[in-house]
């Protein structure tokens, strides 16, 4: 099983859009959220005058001490977005723990409003939601151009979320096989291991491999290694099981996944606990593995609620513009990430 699409266009959104057809007008799908960075991609599309429509999704966490502040910040961001696009906006409203049927209904509805060229902003979209939307957009043959975007923050807060639950597959990404040999677990290393240990106790993977974000400035770097140390108390692995990947790159982790899982015909469990671009790589890899008929599942220990200070600001590029990283997922109707059958 090898990767046969070595060139996968990715880079700053502004640059990437210039390289794609100049006539494209994009339908935007993104989260209406409390984070500052959540507005960047849509503002950029409006500024570049290549916005066709926008579908905003307001995702309600479970009630928590953050609820009131999150709502206030989301309302403020809605005003920013309305000013950017020059019209009143409404959002689809769902709950963080809504199931696959609710997501499907929403995606079907959004599907009525979008055309051939789509930008999916995953910056502030929980994995429970963006994995499913990505699946459906990739499967939708109508869509010819699919670009995922991710904006970095200036920095992250100290407390990112509260009260994670147990390991559960992301909607539609559960295993479809059972009764086979021990799985291979690939973990994208993040800041918090949440309840990942439970999965290791329960499923007893044959081996555990890591995608480790590098470079990751301190204190994030320390937290990443603490994450690995914690897992290492439960399972043994060798240094070669840890692959360092650029946290803003989706292509390299995809290639590592292809290589790490090569020859493994039993279930591969993917644990996307790291930066979103690596989660993006895991999503497309899972869909590809599923396509070629190999068992795969993706899960997460979803926290009940995210902090109102999950991140602050939007990172900037060398010109002082927001750093919006864009990744081509489909061009001319063809998938950019694929593995051979």
């Amino acid at each position: 099983m090898a990767n046969n699409k070595p060139y996968r266009p990715a880079g700053p959104l502004r640059w990437l859009l210039k390289k794609l057809s100049a006539d494209n007008a994009y339908d935007f799908i993104g989260a209406l959220a409390a984070e500052d960075r959540s507005t960047s991609a849509l503002e950029e599309l409006a500024l570049l005058d290549c916005l066709n429509s926008e579908s905003l999704i307001l995702i309600n966490d479970e009630p928590s001490q953050f609820s009131a502040s999150v709502k206030a910040k989301s309302d403020a961001n809605l005003e920013i977005l309305q000013a950017a696009v020059g019209r009143a906006l409404t959002a689809y409203e769902i709950n963080l723990f809504d199931d696959v049927d609710v997501l499907e209904d929403m995606v079907e509805e959004i599907g009525q409003t979008i055309g051939e060229h789509v930008v999916l902003d995953i910056s502030s979209m929980p994995k429970r939601v963006f994995f499913y939307i990505l699946r459906r957009l990739i499967e939708d043959e109508k869509i010819k151009t699919l670009v995922a975007t991710y904006s970095t923050p200036k920095f992250y807060g100290r407390k990112l979320h509260i009260n994670p639950g147990g390991w559960m597959p992301l909607p539609s990404f559960g295993s479809q096989f059972e009764g086979i040999g021990p799985p291979l677990l690939v973990v994208a290393v993040g800041y918090f291991h949440l309840n990942l240990i439970e999965l290791i106790h329960d499923r007893e993977p044959r081996s555990v491999k890591f995608l480790f974000p590098f470079p990751s400035p301190p204190p994030g770097n320390h937290q990443n290694w603490e994450f690995v140390r914690h897992i290492g108390e439960q399972v043994t692995f060798s240094p070669s099981d840890i692959r360092r990947v650029d946290p803003l790159n989706a292509s390299l982790p995809f290639d590592h996944l292809v290589s790490q899982c090569s020859g493994h015909t039993d279930e591969v469990i993917l644990a996307p606990f790291g930066p979103k671009p690596i989660s993006l790589a895991m999503a497309v890899f899972a869909l590809e593995r599923e396509r070629v008929g190999l068992p795969v599942s993706v899960g997460y220990t979803q926290p009940k609620a995210y902090s109102d200070n999950y991140s602050v600001g939007t990172g900037g590029d060398k010109h002082g513009d927001p750093a919006i990283h864009a990744y081509c997922i489909k061009i001319n109707g063809k998938k950019v990430f694929s593995i051979e059958d």
């Binding site: 723990f97 696959v100 049927d101 009260n163």
Partner: protein
């Protein structure tokens, strides 16, 4: 060079342990207390994390029974109780819980529909497991089948398959005269279709599939058992045991759903037991907080084995059940991992860890070269001459000096009172006049001495390790695992290779291991699903408050102040206080006891102590002496508030996690 292995590397002894190792590591010590597990009737095995529920249920599995036959160990049950076949499901390790993934589908009927999928999925899994067991046992009748006269021949099983395929549940099985493999494949394909359905595709289950869904948990297995008995495959006396482990996962799933349909999944198991199906005997493993108590003892459809109670109780002559159990586990582990000589010792734990440090020795371990006099702290009101005298005493006898500070604070002692007295003559040492005063304050004195010198209290030796385990075998194994890890590291750094000359393990190494184990268990609080961050913040508030109160109580007026007591009457006012104490106790992080206070006006009360393994983390003592600290619910509400947990003084139906005694007024 000999490699030193850690006998406690694998903490859990369950069905997931390498089957060949199970007979060697399984301690049969508890078996005499759990005979009902092997008898007819339903049994609920209840216990907090690490009490050994899964280990006991694993004993029922066919694979483990066969492993015993192949080993030198005897299966620890008398033959007349071995006439059973078991099948089961571990709810944590299969995909049954994913049935809730389609919760909101067809909103109005979602509860019914999801329960139906859950029931049918579990039935399918258990039926396949059961038929697999019969297949396995009849293929090689010399192991268990003939020995326990479980049934007829292999041929009778093969001949019964067409009859089995007439069951409504298996009617879609394509072949009218199926092989066992075809029946198994059919059940597997049914499971796979569910897994796809849980993923959202297909959007709906096919009509013919829905028609064949089983309605109640256990029904298809019961039907199959009836046919197998009728056809002579199973003997009449052969019991069928259905084990369902990790029942608490159902509560976690209910809690994960937006509508919080508490009970929707757990009721399924309850109803199955209520049916009192004569051919099936359920064995349910659960943590205490998840089990829904049947109202009224007489209506119970099951026996309950409470492992926490069982392990904490003492027997004739104060022989502690847990200590004996732990010793057996310890010995087996050592023997299995190549420490045969130590395993053969009369008391292997004591050989490895030593007894325990006496109080004065413990004080020296805390800070051997401390200037005790300089750092000695005093309660208010102690005169300077008395302070000076006690500082002198502290140079050689810091513990006596510390006790003296409290005594002086309580009694207004003067310098003249102490003049010319030897240590044994100090009033706080006169046990004939005040027999309990000193004994009750030894631990708080040691704690305060450590605090005065900015040191941690030191714990090591067999007695400390057993006490810190709090009657929980997983905690015990975890402490041993950390101590052993530290010991292996210290051996490596010193270049030593011989085991016996380096025993008992040095106290510093033990203390380090115990501290690490405590930190690990503290981290576990934060890993509790859906409530971990809130629960750890709450328990931290309580733990730090207790520490502050104990170290600032210079008169040592509350030597039992490492625990709290609330009156039942007071707790009625705050469901949130009840809920969060219940969450902590149900998960084993607080130990809870009913008690009556000296002050009769308080009425019935409940007291709580941090689990002993958490006390090194919070720098507390674990000894439960004298009265706990009496507090009001406002104090607990303050901890909750500081933990950013919303409080309201109204009934809260979402609080499902019960505390025995809160629901029906008795503990």
């Amino acid at each position: 060079m000999k490699t030193l292995r850690n006998p406690f590397t694998t903490l859990y002894v369950t069905e997931r342990l390498d089957q060949a190792k199970f007979p060697e590591l399984f301690s049969p010590f508890l078996v005499p207390y759990i005979a009902q597990l092997f008898e007819a009737g339903n049994v609920v095995v209840e216990g907090t994390q690490g009490t050994g529920k899964s280990m006991l249920l694993a004993l029922l599995s066919t694979e483990v029974r066969i492993a015993f036959e192949a080993s030198n160990e005897n299966y620890p049950i008398e033959p007349e109780l071995c006439r059973f076949i078991s099948a089961g499901i571990n709810l944590a390790t299969n995909e049954a819980l994913r049935s809730v993934a389609r919760w909101s589908k067809n909103n109005a009927d979602s509860t019914t529909e999801i329960r139906q999928c859950f029931v049918d999925y579990v039935n399918c899994w258990i039926l396949r497991d059961f038929l697999d067991a019969v297949d396995q046992l009849t293929k090689n009748t010399s192991t268990l089948w003939d020995k326990y006269e479980l049934g007829g021949t292999r041929e009778t099983f093969i001949e019964s398959l067409p009859s089995l395929s007439t069951l409504p549940y298996l009617k879609s099985c394509a072949n009218e005269n199926p092989s066992f493999g075809e029946i198994k494949d059919y059940l597997s394909s049914r499971i796979r279709l569910y897994l796809k359905f849980f993923n959202g595709r297909p959007k709906s289950l096919p009509a013919e599939f829905l028609d064949s869904q089983s309605q109640t948990l256990g029904q298809p297995i019961s039907d199959a058992v009836a046919i197998l008995k009728q056809e002579g495959v199973l003997n009449r006396h052969t019991q069928v045991l259905i084990s369902i482990d990790q029942f608490e996962q159902l509560l976690e799933m209910e809690a994960s759903l937006p509508t919080k349909p508490y009970g929707a999944l757990r009721d399924v198991i309850d109803q199955a037991m209520h049916r009192r199906e004569p051919t099936l005997n359920f064995r349910v493993g659960t943590r205490p907080y998840a089990w829904q108590e049947t109202p009224g003892e007489a209506l119970r459809d099951y026996d309950k084995l409470n492992l926490d109670e069982m392990l904490r109780r003492t027997e004739h002559g104060n022989r502690k059940v847990f200590e004996t159990f732990a010793t057996d586990v310890f010995r087996r582990r050592l023997k299995s991992y190549g420490y045969g000589a130590l395993a053969g010792e009369k008391d292997p734990i004591e050989s490895v860890l030593g007894k325990y440090p006496r109080p004065k020795e413990r004080v020296q371990q805390i800070a051997a070269n401390a200037n005790w006099g300089k750092h000695l702290s005093f309660p208010e009101g102690v005169s300077e001459p008395v302070k000076a005298r006690l500082r002198e005493i502290a140079v050689d006898s810091p513990l006596d000096a510390k006790l003296g500070t409290a005594w002086a604070g309580q009694n207004g002692t003067t310098a003249e009172d102490l003049a010319g007295l030897s240590i044994d003559d100090f009033p706080w040492n006169q046990t004939d006049k005040k027999p309990w005063w000193r004994k009750e304050r030894i631990w708080v004195a040691i704690l305060q001495l450590a605090a005065d010198n900015r040191q941690r209290i030191v714990m090591n030796g067999k007695k400390d390790v057993i006490d810190l385990s709090g009657a929980n075998i997983l905690v015990f194994s975890s402490i041993c695992q950390h101590i052993w890890d530290c010991w292996i590291r210290s051996m490596a750094s010193s270049g030593a290779t011989e085991v016996e000359p380096n025993m008992p393990i040095p106290w510093k190494v033990q203390t380090d291991g115990i501290q690490r184990a405590s930190n690990t268990w503290h981290e576990k609080i934060g890993e509790e699903k859906w409530i971990g961050d809130s629960l750890i913040a709450f328990i931290d508030e309580a733990g730090h408050w207790l520490r502050k109160m104990m170290t600032s109580d210079k008169r040592m007026s509350y030597p039992g102040g490492n625990g709290i007591s609330l009156s039942n009457r007071d707790m009625i006012r705050s469901p949130d206080v009840r809920r969060w104490l219940s969450e902590a106790a149900g998960r084993g992080y607080l130990l809870q006891r009913k008690h009556k206070s000296k002050d009769s006006s308080r009425g019935e009360s409940i007291k709580w102590y941090p689990h002993p393994i958490l006390t090194p983390y919070y720098e507390l003592t674990f000894h439960q002496t004298k009265e706990p600290r009496y507090i009001k619910i406002e104090q607990v509400e303050e901890w909750l508030s500081r933990a950013r947990i919303a409080i309201q003084r109204v009934d809260d139906d979402s609080s499902q996690l019960r505390l025995p005694g809160f629901q029906d007024g008795k503990q």
